[in-house]
């Protein structure tokens, strides 16, 4: 199937849902319909629609300025779309107040960034613990979960290190642990390997795949790298704020 044919077949149906989004994994977790977003009069998203099932891993690809990060921000509730609807577990995200959005993020969403964005004054363990603290979990449970996950990402010996004392790969492992510690239903990863060498990048991708499979977390992965899409069930290609193509990758 050519990309053009894929693009055609992935046009939204009458419900605004792409036919290719149906992976058959389970019921939709996230449904975005006709999302639009502009900055200073410049359209960045032009009616993007997509559906993500629970446990599904989706890659977003496209050249710089195609709207990948903006779409990810909208999906994560960090940015508000100008138009369209966005539902996460039947909750209309665009209607939520800032505090409700924050509550949604801390409960249901985990985020991994290209530049890690660990808080520089917190140790690795404290960074990982932060989402649990935001969710108000008791200290003992927090400690146990942090210990387990840190061990799982292979950083037990670096738990008390500051981010400035960690390598790029280690930092991204901490970031992954932080994104998954509170067991979110949706994991958003923005170029998680973009700042890493190929070996570290591979390790990080494997870790993301393993953990999302273990926890049943859905993933939206923004990437430039075709290699990174190997861990995803399907890939959406964005161009000039529109879905240009969609393909199944796994």
């Amino acid at each position: 199937m050519t990309v053009r044919a894929l693009a055609k077949s992935s046009a939204p149906d009458e419900y605004g849902v792409s036919s290719l989004s149906m992976t058959g994994l389970s019921a939709p977790l996230l449904v975005a319909s006709s999302l639009t977003k502009s900055y200073d009069g410049q359209a960045v998203l032009r009616g993007v629609s997509l559906t993500l099932s629970a446990g599904e891993r989706l890659a977003l690809m496209g050249p710089s300025g195609s709207g990948k990060t903006t779409l990810l921000n909208c999906l994560g509730g960090v940015d508000r779309p100008d138009g369209g609807t966005l539902r996460l577990r039947d909750k209309a995200i665009e209607t939520l107040s800032p505090d409700e959005l924050a509550a949604l993020r801390r409960r249901d969403i985990g985020t991994i960034f290209q530049f890690f964005h660990l808080l520089p004054t917190l140790t690795a363990a404290e960074n990982v613990e932060l989402p649990l603290q935001l969710n108000g979990l008791p200290a003992r449970e927090r400690t146990e979960r942090v210990k387990k996950l840190i061990e799982r990402v292979g950083l037990s010996h670096r738990a008390e290190a500051l981010p400035s004392q960690l390598s790029g790969g280690e930092m991204q492992r901490v970031a992954i642990a932080r994104a998954l510690i509170h067991r979110p239903s949706l994991l958003l990863a923005d170029e998680p390997t973009g700042n890493l060498d190929s070996v570290s990048g591979d390790n990080v991708l494997n870790l993301i795949q393993e953990l999302s499979e273990e926890t049943g977390t859905s993933l939206v992965l923004v990437t430039h790298s075709a290699e990174a899409t190997r861990i995803c069930h399907r890939t959406i290609h964005l161009r000039d704020g529109e879905i240009a193509a969609e393909e199944r990758t796994a």
């Binding site: 808080l119 917190l122 932060l130 923005d190």
Partner: protein
């Protein structure tokens, strides 16, 4: 290149974020304004002490004054004879003071509220012959002129007074002179002098004999002024006149130029003014921290831009120059605005300073402070220099950081080198401690200035500032466990545990302001405690009687012998003490000779003895003619102790007095020599009394006795025991009003600085804030975290600031105050006040943090992934 960088970068940043630049300029302006206002006010208040005669005539060439008491009129023919070959005018002067009677709406017993007028008694006919262009009291209107001689109550008033109170020839101007209310009659209005010279509103002129009679000084004059006739020989004759005056003096007078006399007024108030000036620098010093912080923050914010410029080939020197130029421009704007604000503030400060000088030193006629071009330039220069000094380090950082490091996007802002700071801080504190051992600078007049003490205080504040970073870290570490409470706690404490240089500067600003304010609080508290004890012991009588015309320290209003004798003879009067005081020159330095019934002291007053008299001789008028007591300030100033002898000049000749004991006294810093009034009256041929202290006989109510006395003598001021104590404490607190205002400004600037710091750090942490928001932190939680961080920085500044204030308070009390004023104060810590003060500062820091955090949490994300 510098201009280009300024135009392309600094100016654009300023336009994009005008609020920060405006705030910085305002802070700098505030610092400059406070210093400048005090400087202008000090100058105006000292300038207000003038040779009043020089305002009426031309400036005299020489002035002779007796070392004690007054000159007899008989010296005038003697002087004329001695100077007969010289073209010199001799102007005898009598000078006294008076105050208007109380109005219905005046405070019942407040001192210093009503204006003190200076009355000059001059020979009006001789005045016509003086070498001036236009005599102020003119003979042209002969009828009115002669009224000045015929009418014993005729007075000439200045134009300003006539205008202010709508007075004209023939108007009645009531004034209390000594204990009498006298209805003076306006004989004429004195026009203002030439060249913009304005006669102060408080100067009144009478014919010499009339004022002598009115003030009870018949046959006596206060000083004689000499004016040399202008001409080619004037300089020679001037010198010759001085030689003759000194030769004929034989210890009866001292000769000085008016400038020398003005200098003595400056010297008299030097310590007071110096203290104010040092305090006024606090706001500027805290302001410097803020400029440093702001520019340092700007370097961090713009480091990417600096890195790009460096990689494009802009030299480190050009970068440094551009930053320094930016600091200088800020300083220029802040200095100019500060000069204007300072000038406006000086109008208030001059009244506050003048009021204190009136209460403690001399009558100052200053009402307004003027601004000259030179001072405006000085203020702007101060702003620029301060700003450039504060901008130097950030400019250096901007220039020296390698481009690669500048271009790095993330990481913790530079952390200070704690160990080096702790060592430097400790070293400065040790140096400060050593400086407290250095004796004061001594002036020719015996005045002292605790220069080393001031430097010790300054070093203590700077040293404490350097220790503030570990203090912030300590707060973060000691509260580490609290990080488990919630995410905002964890975040805030993590920032405090690893403080950046910005934390240190904010805490250092707060520490300085806290240490100085609390140190001052300890000093005032100790003063208050000591004063209350002193008042308790000293003011035990029922009634305190003096002239109601006495409204300032320089007041010359007395009670005539007939009046005080009549008071003593009243049936309700119990034991009483008649007190007189006169300035005298001892070893060429002015001090106070206090005379009273020493027996009364022994029987009724618990003196705070430093050296208790060995026997009772000094308290017995029959045996104490050659004995005296001295105050602590006198002891320190003259270096004399019990058993030493002093030579005290009197009109009856030099008297040698043996020091029988010394006592603590807080009346004046020039020191007092206490003798029995029986001898004073004889030696000075003066039976007038400055005040009468009395007990009422059992069965009489002091209030009733007071009312009866006031009915018979409406020109008296009578305090009951409790009202006098209240009044003394009111004057005491009033003299510290300006001090508190200065400290308050310093603390406000420091709290604003904390806000600026947090704002700048939040801008710097925009990326972190975006992360926190992505993790689900609400705006409120981010604001709470900033509030906790603000509270932590405030604690890191306030707690060591309070600890340092104990040392600073000790330096102020035991070094600066003791060395400068010669007063021993009991070290008292006003715990409650300090606690409340600390709470207010920490709460202000928390609130500032919350508001800044709330605003920072809404900043747009700083991400481009």
């Amino acid at each position: 290149m510098t201009a280009l960088l300024l135009r392309l970068f600094s100016w654009r940043h300023c336009r994009l974020a005008p609020g920060t630049s405006i705030l910085l300029v305002l802070i700098l302006a505030l610092g400059v304004a406070v210093y400048f206002a005090v400087r202008l006010a000090n100058r105006a208040a000292v300038a207000g002490f003038q040779q009043f005669t020089s305002l009426l005539t031309t400036q005299s060439d020489w002035v002779i004054t007796p070392p004690a008491g007054r000159l007899p009129e008989s010296v005038l023919p003697e002087l004329r004879e001695a100077l007969r070959d010289l073209a010199v005018h001799i102007v005898p002067v009598v000078e006294t003071t008076g105050a208007p009677p109380r109005q219905a709406n005046d405070g019942e017993e407040e001192i210093g509220v009503r204006t003190t007028y200076t009355l000059l008694g001059l020979d009006l006919i001789a005045l016509q012959n003086l070498p001036v262009e236009r005599p102020v009291v003119s003979m042209t209107e002969a009828a009115q002129f002669w009224q000045g001689f015929v009418d014993p109550l005729a007075v000439y008033i200045p134009h300003a007074l006539a205008k202010a109170q709508s007075l004209d020839r023939g108007s009645v101007f009531p004034l209390i002179i000594n204990e009498r209310i006298v209805d003076l009659r306006v004989a004429g209005v004195l026009p203002d002098g030439g060249a913009g010279l304005r006669i102060p509103e408080t100067l009144l002129v009478m014919d010499l004999p009339n004022l002598q009679a009115l003030s009870g000084r018949r046959g006596k004059i206060d000083r004689v002024e000499f004016l040399i006739e202008p001409g080619p020989l004037a300089e020679t004759q001037r010198a010759e006149t001085r030689t003759i005056l000194e030769k004929t003096s034989a210890g009866r007078w001292s000769t000085a130029s008016p400038n020398e006399r003005r200098e003595s007024a400056e010297i008299m108030t030097r310590a007071f003014r110096m203290n104010l000036t040092v305090l006024s620098l606090l706001a500027l010093m805290v302001g410097l921290y803020l400029i440093f912080q702001a520019l340092d923050g700007a370097v961090v914010r713009r480091r990417e831009e600096i890195g790009i410029l460096r990689s494009l080939g802009v030299t480190a020197r050009a970068i440094r120059r551009a930053w320094l130029a930016e600091a200088a421009v800020l300083g220029l704007a802040g200095g100019a605005l500060g000069a204007l604000l300072g000038w406006a503030g000086a109008q208030w400060a001059v009244i506050a300073v003048g009021r204190t000088m009136n209460s403690l030193y001399f009558a100052s006629s200053a009402r307004t402070a003027s601004l000259s071009g030179g001072e405006l330039t000085a203020a702007i220069a101060l702003g620029v220099i301060a700003s450039v000094i504060a901008g130097w380090w950030p400019a250096r950082n901007a220039a020296l950081t390698p481009p690669a490091q500048m271009l790095r996007r993330s990481g913790i802002a530079s952390t200070p080198q704690h160990r080096r700071h702790v060592m430097a801080g400790g070293l400065l504190l040790a140096l400060a401690a050593l400086l407290t051992l250095v004796p004061p600078l001594r002036f020719a007049d015996g005045g002292r200035l605790a220069v080393a003490g001031f430097f010790s205080g300054l070093l203590a504040v700077l040293g404490g500032g350097l220790l503030s970073a570990p203090a912030v870290r300590l707060v973060g570490r000691s509260l580490h466990a609290a990080g488990r409470i919630s995410a905002p706690f964890r975040l805030a404490l993590s920032h405090l545990r690893r403080p950046a240089s910005r934390h240190r500067m904010a805490a250092a600003g707060l520490l300085s302001a806290t240490a100085m304010t609390a140190g001052m609080g300890i000093m005032v508290g100790s003063f208050d405690h000591t004063m209350r004890g002193w008042i308790e012991r000293t003011f035990v009588a029922d009634l305190y009687i003096s002239s109601d015309g006495a409204q300032s320290a320089s007041s010359q209003n007395r009670l005539s012998p007939s009046t005080w004798r009549a008071i003593l003879a009243r049936p309700e009067t119990g034991d009483a003490n008649v007190i007189q005081a006169a300035p005298v020159q001892v070893q060429g330095k002015t001090t106070l000779l206090w005379a009273g019934d020493l027996r009364f002291l022994k029987e009724h007053i618990r003196m705070a003895w430093l050296e208790r008299p060995e026997n009772d001789a000094v308290f017995d008028a029959a045996r104490n003619a050659e004995l005296c007591l001295i105050s602590e300030a006198f002891m320190d100033r003259f270096g004399l102790r019990q058993g030493n002898s002093i030579e005290v000049p009197t009109p009856a000749g030099m008297k040698t007095l043996k020091i029988a004991g010394s006592f603590a006294d807080y009346g004046n810093e020039r020191g007092s020599v206490m003798i029995d009034r029986a001898h004073f009256a004889r030696w000075f041929d003066d039976e007038m009394a400055g005040s009468v202290v009395m007990f009422v006989k059992p069965g009489h109510d002091p209030e009733t006795v007071r009312a009866g006395l006031l009915k018979d003598y409406p020109g008296l001021s009578i305090f009951t025991n409790s009202s006098l104590r209240t009044e003394i404490l009111r004057i005491f607190n009033q003299s510290f009003a300006i001090t508190w205002a200065l400290e308050l400004i310093g603390v406000c600037v420091a709290v604003i600085g904390l806000g600026l710091t947090l704002a700048s750090m939040l801008v710097e942490r925009r990326s972190d804030i975006s992360t926190l928001r992505a993790l689900g932190m609400t705006h409120n939680e981010i604001a709470r975290s900033a509030a906790l961080e603000g509270a932590g920085i405030a604690l890191g500044g306030v707690v060591p600031g309070l600890l340092l204030s104990l040392g600073l308070g000790w330096i102020l009390i035991r070094v600066i105050n003791k060395q400068t004023f010669g007063w021993t104060l009991q070290f008292t810590i006003p715990w409650w006040q300090l606690g409340i003060f600390a709470l207010i500062v920490v709460c202000s820091g928390t609130l500032t943090g919350w508001f800044t955090g709330r605003r920072g949490s809404k900043l747009p994300a700083d991400r481009e992934e």
